[in-house]
Symmetry: C2
Subunit: 445 residues, 2 copies
Amino acid sequence: MNFVVIGGDAAGMSAASRAKRTDPNLDVIVLEQTQDVSYSACGMPYNIADAGRPIDDLVVRKAEVFRQKQGIDLRTGHRAEAIDPSRRTVSGTGPGGSFVIAYDRLLIATGARPAMPDLPGIDSDGVVALKKLEDGRHIKGLLRGRNVERVVILGMGYIALEMAEALRSRGIAVSLVKPRPGLLPWMAPELSAVVGQELAANGVVRHDGRRPERIEARGDRLRMVGDGLDLSADMVLAAIGVAPNSEMAAAAGLDLGPGRAIAVDRGMQSSVPGIYAAGDCADAFHVVTGQRVYIPLALRANRAGWAAADNACGGSTELEGIAGTAVFKVFRLEVARTGLTVDEAAAAGFDPVSVVVTTSSRAHAHPGAGKIHVHLVGDRGSGRLLGAQMVGTEGAAHRINAAAVALHAKMTVAGFAQTDLSYAPPFGPVWDPLLTAANQLVKKL
Amino acid sequence: MNFVVIGGDAAGMSAASRAKRTDPNLDVIVLEQTQDVSYSACGMPYNIADAGRPIDDLVVRKAEVFRQKQGIDLRTGHRAEAIDPSRRTVSGTGPGGSFVIAYDRLLIATGARPAMPDLPGIDSDGVVALKKLEDGRHIKGLLRGRNVERVVILGMGYIALEMAEALRSRGIAVSLVKPRPGLLPWMAPELSAVVGQELAANGVVRHDGRRPERIEARGDRLRMVGDGLDLSADMVLAAIGVAPNSEMAAAAGLDLGPGRAIAVDRGMQSSVPGIYAAGDCADAFHVVTGQRVYIPLALRANRAGWAAADNACGGSTELEGIAGTAVFKVFRLEVARTGLTVDEAAAAGFDPVSVVVTTSSRAHAHPGAGKIHVHLVGDRGSGRLLGAQMVGTEGAAHRINAAAVALHAKMTVAGFAQTDLSYAPPFGPVWDPLLTAANQLVKKL
């Protein structure tokens, strides 16, 4: 009996470790095309910010540890290329040439890749993306090797903003470019304006609503040209989103879901029995809508890896799904969301009502306070809480979890408004900002 | 139609304001024995820490504002002394002598007072407590007037610890004294040990398990003497807990609940129709046990004031109850709890199982991380989550809210372990410390 895992990152290595712990006699084989396994991909912007730290600091567990201490047959440099569900085999190319491996249970954990804009010159030297550890290594090499003074970032999502902060901290000029107008369009305008001010205050130049047409390269110098756009740069970072690595799964006949991610049930099984998928290549059910969504994030990847392993070992683990909880830091701000936006709620058939409130991050007269902005979305019909967004200098990143738990519990806004949240002067006002928002939203529902 | 409120602090002024907003024609009369209304009592330790800040910085809204802008008949210097439910009157003493006021609806919001130990010398000059703004004013005056170099604090609860920090920040030597052994006995020993180390690292000397026998005063100098105890001090602070001001209610025939607090239903009505009670003088239902408890804290006081006002105005607001969520800061540590301890759970008829886990406060390899310690309690029979405690240098105070919401939702530990909590490297590990604890507790249940 064996368990073959394609992909040695968060979902894949979580699954391999869990399966081997559950059943030490199981033959666990991991096929990973790069040499890097088990690293903190999300930590890359913070590592890049510090020229003195090697990128390998982000490695959580080395390949040898998985092999020698955990008994996992981890095959780095092995690129899986095709799955044959009828013969139950995976074929591909490794250091010793092509290979074919038979599997009893298979986990596809191929992750995602950065989406690259379709631009002339996008393949120029100095145009980079950030997803794999190798990408981080490459960027650090460029920053070290070239005299990088100016970077243009394509995209304004959380990786773009985290990288803007990292590069500014190294004294590099940063311009953000995005074809469509508006910063963080999923965010309530009052909150995204706060993020916009923070970017401006830190010298990040935004060009949103500007469509790039081409990238020109001359030596180490790049130039991004477009409608009302002519920016010189020593490096261009594409951070416009990710696409699931699902082509091999699709070719093998597995159903795809939203965003062309591999469709899985609550036990991480794909449409083909015996084949599981987990991590950034797979979809998930949203706990608010019950619908399939593609929101690839780290916690889900780890959790889905465990669930797939449990089930590959004969268990019956089911995951409730995701609430779409996400946080990031941008300069002094914490930005957080969970659940649905007003637009997503309307699209899912709810009748959304929302509020925005701004309160202090600490109690009345407590020194050192900042502002905290809360956007809360509820459903007029049922009174249910549907989503929350927060931006503030402190207390947004962890506070959002209270709303996330409420979404899992399918609480009403009125019920959420009754919760006994913490209070002490250094940490917030008597009424937590979430409660103040909930109290106001209750009146509008 | 009038609404008479006894007590002009958090619950009383919240109720008066709410009632006047709901029904501008209602005659709202507040009887307050001091001159101070609507101030942040919880902020006093932080104000005391700063010699340069007047204590009146803590006043949120002045008496004139309530009178002139809100139309509330706020009578400071009026001490209510007796309630006659059969005649529906309150009598007492004011600046102009004795008074009798007839009420249609009555709210008792008399708060609590510091419990004072029964010690010879406890009434000496220089022995203080901290509850009312006047107490804070008095303490600041002592610190200014005497050359206070040493303070002995009786008690080791959160006010004692907050004041220890405040006094240490002013360079004052602090000793904590408590008759019974153990710091924060409600806390898991692994967590209270962390708090103990933090106190020691900041030069706070603990004498627990030492029973004081008397306080001797000589001029401005105090001496606390007891079994193995002989401490000199310039000031002694009694911080051993609070007792509800419920004597007048009891004399009027109102039922008392746990801790001799006024027993109220979910609409804040006492056992006598037309008489409500809210704030630190009243009890509450615990959302985990459904039982009456006396846990006087600020959020509940404000919320109960609103609910009492709504119902006095003819509404039908009911409060779910409290989860016992409480946080405080002590030096660099955030200390948080919600729900039941193991002992409380056992006493309430549960079969408690618990875990303690220690994780990093930030992601792998993220700079600046501290440790975060989590104690989680579940019920073996039902699998329900019963309580949580956290101690850490960052991320405990707001994280606890996720557990508090789960308690309101009566979630199982397994359900809580499935929640989609936030992750980004500056704010925590991929698996939030609460999830790591929940994952471990699930295995033990």
